[in-house]
């Protein structure tokens, strides 16, 4: 099994368990990340957002054809969100990594006992979270998170804006991921392993 993607350069699908680093300015990656995490039939989608409110994320996913019951959102923007029919968990800071993991676990607790559940996970963005945590901490967190995505056979997409970090930080973060998508106004190019 794999996760099918549309309008994603030459790539048509990502393998189960793969995590993708999506590099580009947030205007570009926000849209592309939502493309990547939009659930197909029988899939679920969890978006962890640090820079866009839950209402916008929901609207954008629905516009792309997702049903409400497929979606879970962890909103770290510290904004009130009153959305009905969609589990939205709110956290006061993108730096609350334990909170993120806990809410993630709770969102899946409802139906993840069923091992066949297929899920896409989006994290937008690593750059915002990095303003609240050390690089070392983020590196460890991403390793553990991508290991969870791997063991659960999910598909993860993590956005990062390289212009917000030193080159060394970007290069270090890269090492965590199976593959990387470079996104700019000209399009998207994917390198690494775990896709077709």
């Amino acid at each position: 099994m794999s996760y099918r993607v549309d309008s994603f350069g030459d790539v048509t699908s990502f393998d189960d368990g793969v995590s993708l680093l999506m590099s580009g300015t947030s205007t570009e990656t926000n849209q592309r990340l939502l493309d990547a995490v939009t659930p197909k039939a029988d899939e679920r989608s969890v978006v962890i957002t640090t820079n866009t409110g839950a209402a916008t994320v929901l609207k954008e996913l629905e516009r792309r054809g997702a049903d409400r019951e497929q979606i879970g959102i962890i909103d770290c923007t510290n904004a009130d969100s009153e959305i009905e029919d969609v589990p939205v968990r709110t956290l006061s800071s993108p730096g609350d990594l334990t909170g993120i993991s806990l809410e993630f676990a709770k969102l899946f607790d409802r139906d993840m006992d069923d091992e066949s559940v297929r899920a896409r996970v989006g994290f937008a963005s690593v750059s915002t979270a990095l303003m609240y945590t050390e690089l070392r901490t983020m590196f460890r967190f991403l390793h553990v998170f991508t290991a969870r995505i791997r063991s659960g056979g999910m598909f993860g997409t993590f956005a990062l804006d390289p212009t917000m970090h030193e080159e060394k930080a970007h290069n270090t973060i890269r090492a965590v991921f199976d593959c990387e998508a470079d996104v700019d106004e000209d399009g998207i190019s994917v390198s690494g392993t775990g896709f077709e």
């Binding site: 993630f104 676990a105 607790d109 590196f139 290991a147 060394k168 090492a175």
Partner: protein, 202 residues
């Protein structure tokens, strides 16, 4: 893991003598087992060589929570599984424990839990090396042009070792679940929130 000793060390802290004997019988083939029948004795036994502590939450004298705090302070790398009478939820993990077992504890469950905790420690060790190498590699990438790096022996060896470690990391916790995930992230944040342990959990 303890240096110069193939078997990992488990400390069993339990006030019921019969349970200690039972756990020791289950564990002694695979592990070096230390025992303590109360919190004070557990702290006397604590040393760097201990990999996993099995800790009864409710004991006369010093409580499991107090013992946990002291373990965290003295051996930060040590994994601690709480043994409790009540089925807890994820909150137990934000309280500082790495895992929990509900009484009555069964043999398979106990062995599986200890194995999982040891795998987490192993994951931490590999991850630490991976970070060191990835930082080194990132520094090289930022300082030299790509063409030059491809010719560079040190860079190639580094890449090879990183690939190896990534493979090991992927196979260390194949059955990683949400409990592992939450506990490991909690560990990363380093027990900063140990002040707000709820006291009346049970």
């Amino acid at each position: 893991m303890a240096d110069g000793d193939d078997q990992p060390t488990v400390l069993v802290v339990e006030d019921e003598r019969a349970l200690i004997e039972l756990y020791v019988r289950w564990l002694e083939d695979d592990y070096r087992v230390l025992t303590a029948d109360g919190g004070e004795e557990a702290l006397e036994q604590l040393d760097e060589g201990i990999d996993v502590v099995l800790l009864d939450r409710l004991m006369p004298g010093m409580s499991g929570d107090e013992v946990l705090e002291e373990i965290r302070r003295r051996i930060p790398d040590c994994k601690v599984a709480m043994v409790t009478a009540v089925e807890p939820d994820f909150d137990v993990i934000t309280m500082g424990f790495d895992d929990y077992l509900t009484k009555p504890v069964e043999r398979e469950e106990l062995l599986e839990t200890i194995q999982r905790l040891l795998s987490r420690s192993q994951f931490d060790d590999i991850e630490q090396e991976l970070y060191a190498l990835s930082s080194k590699q990132a520094a090289l990438r930022s300082s030299k042009p790509k063409e030059e790096l491809e010719e560079n022996e040190e860079f190639r060896e580094l890449q090879h070792r990183i690939d190896e470690l990534r493979g090991e990391l992927d196979t260390t916790l194949p059955g990683m679940d949400d409990d592992d995930f939450v506990a490991m992230v909690r560990d990363i944040e380093g027990g900063e929130d140990s002040d707000d342990l709820p006291g009346d959990f049970e």
